[in-house]
Symmetry: C2
Subunit: 327 residues, 2 copies
Amino acid sequence: MHILVLGAAGMIGRKLVGRLLADGQVGGRPISRLTLFDMVEPTAPGGSVPADTVAGDLAAAGQAAKLVADRPDLIFHLAAIVSGEAEADFEKGYRVNLDGTRELFEAIRLVGDGYRPRLVFTSSIAVFGAPFPPDGIHDEFHTTPLTSYGTQKAIGELLLADYSRRLFFDGIGIRLPTICVRPGKPNKAASGFFSGIIREPLNGQEAVLPVPETVRHWHASPRAAIGFLMHAASMDTARLGARRNLTMPGLCATVGEQIAALRRVAGDRVANLIRREPDETIIRIVQGWPETFSARRAEALGFRAERSFDEIIRVYVEDELGGRLPA
Amino acid sequence: MHILVLGAAGMIGRKLVGRLLADGQVGGRPISRLTLFDMVEPTAPGGSVPADTVAGDLAAAGQAAKLVADRPDLIFHLAAIVSGEAEADFEKGYRVNLDGTRELFEAIRLVGDGYRPRLVFTSSIAVFGAPFPPDGIHDEFHTTPLTSYGTQKAIGELLLADYSRRLFFDGIGIRLPTICVRPGKPNKAASGFFSGIIREPLNGQEAVLPVPETVRHWHASPRAAIGFLMHAASMDTARLGARRNLTMPGLCATVGEQIAALRRVAGDRVANLIRREPDETIIRIVQGWPETFSARRAEALGFRAERSFDEIIRVYVEDELGGRLPA
């Protein structure tokens, strides 16, 4: 099968391509070709599967049509301007996250002639906005985003469901939890500390915690996220009915529970590298974020996340540190 | 104040313009000018308020910018391709209902310079799709439309909330119940019988009932709908917070209750003009429609609908038949 990955140069995109090459197949069908697309040209993967890499602007006229002209059997649409940038640059966010998505969906529709690929779209828990139900966000809670990014993702979900209903493609939208532990350098995202307080100490560096330990949030590892994508690519979508967008399972943990897990996995010396430095701006932003979910539908459909924060930390140590804890 | 009405030639649009001229003011501010827009040129209203009538395509380049160039203080956006047509003509539905709405919102944003009109958008209960909660659709139920029309309205709601949050305009979206009793000729809409079984007998004609009397639905009169629009135009939107889209109150009635009300208001001879002729296609379509709602938020914010189907029938007799029942 021919697989198209949009957003292939991002953290999730690169890990997904690695998994596709390692598996060599999706749902029992061998992978014969990859097309990897992003705003910056993705790195060509090694291995025996032919892979084209393409840099471009998905919202530009004709770009999406070119990408689907060879009728890829499976499309992963991960491409997006992130939350902070979509909020800072209104026009760019709508152009990439809404127009880009719509151009892709339209290009697929206009191929016609029975073409109906599986399309996996990464949405986000940012489609939800406070106030939330006290017992967590259930599968029938309304989407009232409080950011332009969340709005664009919620619109993408609606389009995906309608295009799927009209049989233009076989779509599934997956709302990712906050991905933790994100590998790489610290970034300026307000949510950065959730990963930073684990990642920096495990790399022997101090981390700043800007919020109280009572803050609760919804996490899944990068490895779990790739698992969601692979399951969405191969599952029987007839089981979704008309409701094609799913909140993914995750792990609800307080910052205090994150730190206790780090202490259990890596010891006091590592955990003591976290410095408390409350930041009122971040505290206020985080108050509007979802704390916990009841993702029953996705669980019943076979999606699986970690069951403890210790496990999330061990995934990071295995996948990013070659299994080695700091001495 | 200068008021722009988009969709001014439709049934609701014409009644709204009549009410605006009769009132002469909105929320205590005198109306100084009207601009009436539709795909076909709206009829120029009589009266002392200057009114421009414009025919055009809201999605066409530059049309929306022209309409908002004079900075109307209040905009009613009622323009839409109806459900059946949006389903039959996919491209036309998205062009008018999504692109047209987005062009309007963008045109307002691009005026800039502190321009921030009140914008009232008519959405629909078609944003909801079965299966529904057994106790009715509450204010936090998710929007999973089962038509392209419902999808386009749900996207309009999301855009309205985001543009309002960004302070580009002061928006409010109102989800109208099925409007009953619609005046005029019978139409081919699957929902047509809800009005037809009341309207035709009151005009001395036979009506066909294609569904069982147990079918429940959610109704409001045209007069109530105009009341919703006027309240949305003048209310304090600070009370909405970030959640700018509201399910309007209505009356839940079975077809049997509709007929019993007709019998009470107009007598046996009129009610006996309803002929039962089950239509399996319509029965199946209607099964996917909402039956009842709990519209607590809108009620708490002062929106009011009829409290009995007898009242809905009396509104029709007063507003369309000059108060005269058939002899």
